[in-house]
Symmetry: C7
Subunit: 72 residues, 7 copies
């Protein structure tokens, strides 16, 4: 069995794509996380619906707003 | 009595279909889960309303966004 | 006094109808539940507004999405 | 001071009317409750906006969906 | 410093007006409360937008649905 | 580092402006607060969109509905 | 691994941009935070959609309303 926590730990320093509750998609390098699934994402960018990308830099994303985390 | 946790444990490595709070349907192989019902889904894909499928690969889906988990 | 938990325990293996927060109605046989009112429903089906039924099979329904559980 | 819990205890076997978060109104006999204010309602019926009543029988209503409980 | 709890305690048997999350306004006499700010309101009435009042009698209002409590 | 709690403590008896989740803005004198950030506001008034002010008097505002607290 | 908490600690007295659940964007200097990710922001301003800025001064922003915190 692969625990969610183990997968996240194995994915540190790798690229992930987050789907947020409000429909936003944020991509970047996973730098760290805590037990609430709050994430630190570096070189983050938001994928806009028109295909455009908005640079966000280094961000903390709160776990309570995350729907899913895809490993890229 | 079948506990939800027992059913999930018996379903590891089997295909499941998730209904999320925002109406999305995600299918794939259940690889693991934790006590918050956060799930690891492999070979995940999202079923779009037009019948199209969007590949998601390996994902962590947060339990707090899940309405139901169907065993396929 | 009838505790909610006692009524659920007495209803295992009986048919129930669930009203979910998003308005969906799911019916089937209650196979088990846990302390969060997560339920295992077998032979589950969703009653669509047009009277049609969609088969769901064996499902875990998360308690946090349930409004009410009717004993049939 | 009348504690909410005491009022509920005094209201067991009496008729109550529940206002739910989604605007539904459910009436019936309060048979029991737990510390989360999950309620068991017997002879429950939902009052529809057009004045019609839909019979629900014996139901567990989750406290997290309840706005208020009126003693009738 | 006036703690919220102290103000509520000083307001028992006095008239209060509640603003609920869904925009409803309920007025009446505060009879009691618990640590979740669940309230017992007596002689409660709901103020409708058209100025009309709907009598509710004795009600338990769940704290999780309350935005604010005004002392009258 | 200024802890949120310390800033609130230093702001007791001063004027604050609250932004609530439903978009309402409430201003008044902060009289006290507890560990859930439930606040007691005196001489409270709600700023309506048309610039009008509605007097609320002494209110308890539940922390779970507060987005931000501005020190005036 | 960079823990969210560590990144926040390293960002005290630096400029951050907050995305809130209701879509608002608030920028300013991070003065402090607690374990719920409640933040103290100084010289805060809200970026309006029309590009205009609304000055907020010193604010406590509740963590439960924050989607993400970008380090500027």
């Amino acid at each position: 069995m692969v625990l969610p926590n183990d997968l996240l730990e194995a994915s540190v320093n790798m690229n992930v794509s987050l789907l947020l509750k409000d429909g936003r998609i944020i991509s970047g390098k996973l730098s760290g996380f805590d037990q609430y699934m709050n994430l630190v994402i570096e070189e983050a960018s938001e994928e806009k619906e028109d295909g455009e990308q908005r640079r966000l830099g280094k961000v903390v994303v709160r776990g309570s707003n995350i729907v899913s985390i895809s490993m890229l």
